[in-house]
Structure formats: C-alpha cells, structure tokens
Amino acid sequence: MIRVGIIGLGKMGRLRLKICRLLNDVKVVAVADSSKRALQFAENTGIKQLYNDYNDLLKLEDVNAVIISLPNFMHVESITAATETGKHVFVEKPLARTSTECEHIGNLVRRSGVKLMVGHNYRFFDCVEKVRKIYDEGVIGEAELSTLELVYDGFTPWLEPRPMPEWYFDPDKIGMWLLDAGYHLVDLFQWFFGNSEPLYAYLGHRYHLPYEDHAVIVLRSNEDLTKGILNVGWFCKMIFPQFNFRMILHGTAGFTSTDQFTPRNIYLHIVKESTKNIFRRFFGAKIEVLSYTYYYMSYLKELKNFFNSIKNDEEPAVTVNDAIKTVRTIEDIYKVAYDEYPHKR
C-alpha cells in the first residue's frame, strides 16, 4: 500500500484526491492546504490528518509519496522539502518556472533517489497514444510536418462559481505564460520528435493581460528535422465538456490526427460511456473511471503510472529531464519571439 499525502487542494488537488480514492494499493492519509474550506472538503472524504502547513505533512513517516498541486511559484520550495524527507513526488506541470529551477530540482532528485514525475497528462490521452502508435509503427512513414493546437478559455473556470486564484494574474507567480498554456504542446512535440529548436515564435495579446494569451510557434526537431506549428491560445470561451485540442502528423506515406480518435459528438460520447459504466457497476464489473470525458482519463492514467513506478522501482513515464527539456525549449521560444519583436517584451 502506498500512503499518499496531497499538498494543495485547489481544483487539481481535489481531482487528484478523488482519483486516488479509486486506485488499488493507494491510500491518501493526509492533506495540506492553507484554506479551511479545502481541508473541510478532504475531511468530508474521510481523511483524518489535515494540515495548514505542508511541512507538517512531510514530517509524517508513514507517508511514502506526495502529490504537489500547488501554484507554479511554490513548486521549488515544496519539492525541495519533500525530497529532503525522502518522499516520492508527483507534481503538476510545470516542474518550475525556469530551467535553472528545474535543474536544481533535478539535482535534488538524483541525490535523494526518490521518484519524481511531472504531470504531462496529454501524453496519456487515448487519442495521443493512438497517434503515437501509428507513428512508431511507421504507418505514415517519416513525419515531415506536424500541427499541434490547443485553444481554450484561460480564465473562466467552466462552471465553477468562484473567481480564478490571484496568483494566476501575477506574471512573477505564474512564470512564463507558455508554461501554462503551451507547455503540453511543446512536450508532445519533443516526446514524438526529440529535442527541438524554435524557428519562429509570435506571442500575442487579444486581452489586456500582463502576459500573452496566444502564440504561434514553429519548432524543428534537431534529430529528425520534423517541423511543427504550434497554435496555442487562452482567448476562446469554452464551456464543459467542449475541448479544443488536436495533433496532426503529415508523413511521407500518409497522415494521422488525434481527431480520428476523439468523439465526433462529445455529448453522445458522454451518454454512451456513462451508460456503459452504469451497466458495468450494475453487473459488478469494474467501471472505466472518467471515460465519459476522453481527456480527463489521462489524469488517472498518469497517476497509475507514477504509483506503478514506485511499486516496481522503475522510471516514471515522465522524468525530470523531460520537464527540464520542455522548460528550456519554452525559454528558447521567448528568446526567438523577443529577438524578432522586441517591442512586445
């Protein structure tokens, strides 16, 4: 049994808590959050050890692993504290706000010998896994061009009747904007095609924010020279269950796209999958958790991977190095954008 502590019970932390409760051999025994309301949420799920300060949680010897769902600017400090107490760490992306901070964490992890996995959940989308399989099997030949798109609503949290947290609007606390919105696209491109460099980057402002809200980026893989156009934005009103992500690969022998593996009608998909689960439960079979939203399942799959890496003493699917590479490339993207458009700085 892996005994888990969850640090930070915002919308992601609460989702992680709910998912952990459905996993075998995993038990959430403690949570930490500065908000009384968040701790109340955890208490209602039966968790007894509740802390305002995560350092108190980290003192618990029977906690093997922690899930850190804190704001970006608190990652370095909390990961440092967790690794010093020998806890395995799952942390939301981005690992940290700069590559220097990421490398510092990398050194800590290597020294302490704990497992650390970063939440690159897009790798675990069914549609992405299927595109990856097609690519790996050579069905489309060699990929020359690719397009990755993610445009959504960055500020209005779906149906949640609460305002976004203040740190979201503070450039120092959120770090580079692409660490939030563009992170997954950069990671996917490099996961498929290896280390890459930006050939072009435009960072734009639809809204009047202290940071950008959309970008067009061209990356080129250093290994196989695949080019990728990344379109990313925060400006589009979107209400659950809508989701606007796709990845298209154009190869020498054909093409493939995540759109081929996502439901054409999300509402019908929800009805179909939820009906299946109700029947599964009725007949005593195991339900497919969160299958009604094809994208939320990825959170479950990545946590399973993290806990399996602890049980089997293996490398998790997403390593510290993957996260460092992603943050470094994002820093390079900013350099290219600002060199070309210095007035945008």
Binding site: K11, R14, L15, K18, I19, L22, D153, F155, T156, P157, W158, L159, E160, P161, R162, P163, M164, F169, R206, Y207, H208, L209, F235, K237, I239, F240, S274, N277, I278, R280, R281, I287, V289, L290, Y292, T293, Y296
Partner: protein, 313 residues
C-alpha cells in the same frame, strides 16, 4: 415627453462606426438633462469573456458614450465606469483583461468597483417577496447614471430561466455583494427590486455583437431614457413577444417603468428583429442545469467521479 427608444445599426464594426451609431442613437431620444457633473457608466462585464463572444459590453461603445457626454453635455464631467465583483469574476481583473483599464487611461476616467463602495442596505418588496439589497452609494449620488447592457439571451440560474439579459438584468450587477448566486432562487424578484431602487437616466444597449444561440454580428445600438421600455423593445428585437416575458410583466406591474406608448425611432423594428438568432429556453436548461444534474446522478449510479470544478457549482 415621448417615450422614445432608438435603434441604429452601425455602418462599420470599427470604433468610428460604433461611435457614429451611439451618437445617432442618443441624439434621437431627445434626452433633456439639467446638470451633468458626475456620471456613472455601468457596462455588463461577465467573467472574462471578450465582447465578441456577445457576453460583455464592448469598450468601444463605452468609449463613444464618454465622448458623447463630454462633447454634448459637460466637457469636464467626472466620469466613472463601474462594475461589481461576481461569484466567478473579480472586477479589477475584468477591467484589465477586457480593455477597460486601457480605456480609462486613454479617456482619463475612473474605474470603480461597486463592491468596494459604501453600501446601503435597502429593503424592498416585489410581488409579496420582501428582501434586503446591498447597494453602493455611488449609484444614488451621480447626476447621470448610464446603463450599458449587452443584448443577449438567458441566463439559466438555479432553476430559473430568463428569456433575455438586457437593460433590467444589467442592474442586477449593481448589487454590491459578490456572491450573487445567492439571489438566484428569486432572480426575477431581485432584478425587479433593483430596478425599483436604481433608475438609470439613460440606457444604451450594446447589440454590436449580440448573443443568441451563438454570438452574432448584429451591429445594433439602442438607446432610451426609460429602462423598462428599452427592455421591452429589446425583447421584440430578439423575436420575443414582450408581453409573454415574466420579467417584463413583473417589472411593469411593480411600476418600474412605462411601456405604454413606447415609440421606436431611427430604424424600423422589423429591420432590427430579423437578424436575431433565437434560442429556446429548453436549450438552456439542457445545456446547463440538466447537464449538471445528470452528471451528478451518473456519479451516484456508477460510482464514477466528476471533476471538482463542476461538482462545486
């Protein structure tokens, strides 16, 4: 004096086109004002959605109103743009994100958060329902209060479905309390209650991008001196029979305004009406309330989880 509501289409969707339409619309209603020293302008800012979604007032419309006030009434008027915090929106962020901070800087006007003002607790009774409303003092102390709503359908809130959101509903945003969802169980009564207490001198409707089933480039500016009359004509523009709208009926019964002898000036109502996309009330219930209820029921029946962001709403 005639009860006039003007309808003007913009000739072009840029700042100049919008300004021209706003000027024509206000000119046509023959508003007689004695002294305009302090001006409060209340747009509709909902969450952090762009004006082109049809959800929030276009800052270019507000910009044109500011110019109009200064050119026609008082060049040195003290002008404030106001909005209150809402359950899922903080005014300071909405002002910044949606371009109002930039506008305020360019036009040298003040941005004002109604939730931070001195509050008057006002008791009001609507249709036998008595309640208290926390209202900011600035609303009552300005010489000219200008309501600048958006033209849109809905909303669906806590089991109640309004046909439309326009002149009457925008004043709901004058309630200082951020958690306005608490008023949703008596939404109609509360909207009418606010309208009994708060009387705009001028209402200018931003129908440049309206919201029906989807956003639509309607290109319409409306203006009127009586808030309820503007709502009445807006309902017609949206293709509704205003007499069949509970909110308008209730507001009229409670003496909020005068919908008798409303006269449309500018363009014809038929010309404005034909562009508007319709959306069924059932459609709202299906897309919001029923969807959430079904998800919660599904979670109970299957043992599956639903994302916490949805669960808390």
């Amino acid at each position: 004096m005639d009860n006039l509501v003007s309808l003007i289409h913009v000739e072009s969707f840029n700042g100049e086109g919008i300004k021209k339409a706003v000027y024509e619309a206000i000119d046509l209603i023959d508003l007689s004002l004695s002294s305009v020293g302090s001006v409060v302008i209340k747009p509709n800012l909902r969450w952090y959605w762009d004006y082109s979604t049809g959800e929030t007032t276009d800052p270019r419309v507000v910009s044109a109103i500011i110019d109009y006030v200064r050119e026609r009434w008082n060049d040195g008027a003290d002008i404030k743009i106001v909005e209150s915090d809402a359950s899922a929106m903080r005014t300071k962020h909405a002002f910044k994100i949606l371009g109002y901070e930039k506008l305020a800087h360019e036009k040298s006007v003040e941005l004002f958060n109604l939730s931070k003002d001195e509050i008057y607790e006002k008791e009001i009774s609507v249709d036998g329902y008595k309640f208290m409303l926390p209202l900011p003092s600035i609303i009552f102390s300005s010489d000219l209060f200008i309501n600048v709503p958006k033209l849109k359908v809905g909303p669906y809130a806590s089991g109640q479905c309004l046909h439309m959101t326009c002149a009457l509903k925008n004043l709901f945003g004058c309630i200082a309390k951020p958690r306005k969802v608490e008023y949703h169980p008596h939404l109609r009564e509360v909207i009418v209650g606010v309208n009994k207490l708060v009387k705009p001198h001028l209402t200018v409707v931003d129908g440049v991008f309206a919201l029906g089933k989807n956003p639509v480039k309607l290109g319409l500016i409306m203006a009127g001196g009586d808030n309820l009359s503007v709502e009445f004509i807006a309902a017609e523009v949206m293709g509704y029979n205003p007499d069949g709208i509970d909110l308008i009926r209730l507001a009229s019964k409670e003496g909020v305004g005068n919908i008798k002898d409303v006269k449309v000036v500018g363009e014809s109502l038929d010309n404005a009406r034909k562009h508007f996309p319709k959306r069924s009330r059932l459609g709202f219930k299906l897309s919001w309330g029923l969807q959430l209820s079904l998800l919660l029921l599904y979670a109970k029946l299957s043992g599956d989880i639903i994302p916490p962001v949805l669960e808390s709403s």
